[in-house]
């Protein structure tokens, strides 16, 4: 594994170099790509671009946010393991995206993946690509989507936290991004994607991001097995304030995630933001209320779990539904995820350590279906009416979208896991697990005890 990493980096650079060398040869591409004047400029709206620039930054911040959200929940001896996995995803998937991930996902094409025209970002410059976003540079859309491609595999980390080998994790992530994320993303969002053409609505990633990651989480949790000693005793979060901090950053970033998906600073972006915030707020208080009823006391851990569930669930619906629908969706998000996390999981007995499936997978499915119920052309004429607005067909379409994503992600994630497991055990040896991932996988300690 050791040197492979470096070689990979070098190879990437060379690969990319070829593309840019070509580019440099005929020059024009690059010029049109970035120069902010002439025809390109006239198409670009500075207000829309300003909102995209900050949305990109907001969504980038979500991955560190997730790192703290998850990092606070694990034991002290594993917190760096979680932070490391999140940050390495930020690095590796950014590279993957630039080299080929963006092309596989978004280059127009009707196949399994998108086309190969945009490998190494060839042709992706300052001129808008109208089919995706007419008033911002194509590069802005590309890098905005890069942040989605980063956070999705990072979400899965919650399922196998505290017991996966770092090298295996790295390989899993790259393969998963390429063979699960990129195709599903293309099908639902890419020009020529078959689910998109069928009419599946997924505003900001209910299926592409949350179901996709959630199913992979379920698979890996099942296959890797429970943490040692899990049966006897629940694991208390080692630093709940960190988890709260992560939630704050995620909520903050989610405004860019959802409202940024409007790809401009318009009424739809504002409405999406309102809807997103409403769902998060209602879901938070709903979870607190459920705990108050069933566990005597509301907890901050529950409240923020509810908010995250509300955010995940509203994601696919956020650009299509009214504020009222958002409140209902937020309410349902907490009820359903509460049942899945606090009742179903212990019954079934798998160890989805930080509830990556229970919150994101379940929330994503719920949100995609809710979109089929509550979507309204009155909110977004570019969308469709849902069942409650007289169009039952949309609900069926959403069901198909959900079904395809669930099955595809489950099966392919399983295959990837198993293949890696043949070459190297994916799970760390028990001794390493006992000592903790920080020391055994990274030779570091998060906190000093003396001094």
């Amino acid at each position: 594994m050791k040197r492979v990493a470096l070689w990979a980096v070098l190879l990437c650079l060379i690969g990319a170099g070829i593309c840019w060398a070509e580019e440099a040869a005929n020059q024009t591409g690059a010029v049109a790509a970035i120069q902010p004047d002439g025809q390109a400029k006239s198409l670009i709206d500075t207000g829309d671009t300003a909102w995209m620039l900050i949305s990109i930054a907001l969504v980038m911040l979500m991955t560190p946010g997730l790192a703290f959200f998850y990092g606070g929940m694990v034991r002290r001896k594993n917190v760096l393991g979680v932070l490391m996995q999140c940050f390495i995803v930020l690095g590796v998937i950014t590279a993957q995206w630039i080299l080929f991930g963006y092309s596989l996902s978004f280059a127009p094409g009707k196949g399994f993946w998108g086309g190969f025209d945009w490998l190494g970002l060839c042709g992706v410059g300052a001129a808008p690509f109208k089919e995706y976003a007419a008033t911002i540079p194509h590069e802005a859309f590309m890098i905005f989507q890069a942040m989605f491609a980063v956070i999705t595999p990072a979400l899965i980390i919650g399922a196998f936290a505290e017991r996966m080998k770092f090298s295996a994790f790295l390989i899993f992530t790259v393969l998963w991004a390429t063979f699960v994320y990129d195709p599903v993303c293309h099908w639902i969002w890419g020009v020529g994607g078959w689910l998109k053409d069928m009419g599946v609505l997924d505003f900001a990633g209910g299926a592409v991001v949350h179901i996709n990651a959630g199913m992979a989480a379920l698979v890996t949790a099942l296959v890797i097995g429970k943490r040692t000693g899990y049966a006897n005793k629940p694991v208390s979060p080692h630093n709940l304030p960190f988890t709260v901090l992560g939630t704050a950053l995620l909520w903050f970033g989610w405004f860019g995630f959802n409202a940024g998906s409007a790809l401009g600073a318009n009424g739809l972006a504002v409405h999406t933001l309102v809807v997103t915030h409403t769902s998060a707020a209602i879901a938070g208080i709903t979870w607190a209320a459920l705990e108050w009823i069933f566990n005597e006391k509301p907890t901050i851990f529950g409240t923020i779990t509810g908010s995250i569930a509300g955010l995940a669930t509203i994601t696919p619906a956020s650009g299509f539904v009214t504020v009222f629908a958002a409140a209902v969706i937020g309410f349902l998000a907490s009820v359903v995820c509460y049942v899945s996390v606090a009742i179903v999981k212990p019954k079934l007995g798998y160890d989805d350590s930080l509830d990556a499936f229970g919150v994101h997978g379940v929330g994503g499915i719920l949100g995609m279906l809710a979109t089929g119920l509550f979507a309204s052309k009155a909110v977004n004429p570019a969308g469709a009416d849902g069942l409650f607005y007289g169009n039952p067909k949309q609900f069926l379409i959403q069901l198909v979208g959900v079904g395809v994503t669930v099955v595809y992600s489950f099966v392919v994630s399983y295959i990837i896991y198993k293949i890696i497991d043949v070459f190297m055990k994916v799970r760390v040896p028990e001794r390493d697990e006992t000592i903790g991932l920080d020391l055994t996988q990274h030779h570091e300690n998060a906190y000093t005890i003396l001094e």
Partner: protein, 113 residues
């Protein structure tokens, strides 16, 4: 010489210190521990998983004294720490074979204070 170890409730530390000062006992070593005693813990709940937290935060005092200070120390601790409720804690007294002041290398009773 004796080494007195006392386990008390965290919020009594201030009171115990005051009582000890009154008896002119100023030297001590303190740290935080978790105690498992007759006192009922408080259930903790994390995402629905309940845990009967049976380890409660306590403060542990270590005080080395000469024989004639043993009883004053014990009663000062009791005065400061007693609330009458379960969980007030315990005092353990051990024989101290030797005591050395690092700074002066003095030994025995004279080194203790």
């Amino acid at each position: 010489m004796k080494l007195i170890i006392a386990i008390i409730k965290p919020d009594r530390l201030e009171a115990v210190k005051q009582e000890l000062y009154k008896e002119d006992i100023n030297l001590m070593t303190v740290n935080e521990v978790l105690g498992h005693g007759r006192q009922m813990g408080i259930t903790e709940v994390y995402r629905g998983a309940k845990e009967m937290g049976n380890l409660l935060r306590k403060i542990r005092l270590e005080i080395a004294v000469n024989e004639n200070y043993v009883e004053p120390t014990i009663s000062a601790i009791i005065k400061g720490a007693q609330t009458g409720e379960v969980g007030d804690g315990k005092i353990f007294v051990l024989d101290l074979a030797e005591c050395v002041r690092i700074r002066t290398e003095e030994r025995g009773g004279v080194a203790i204070g």
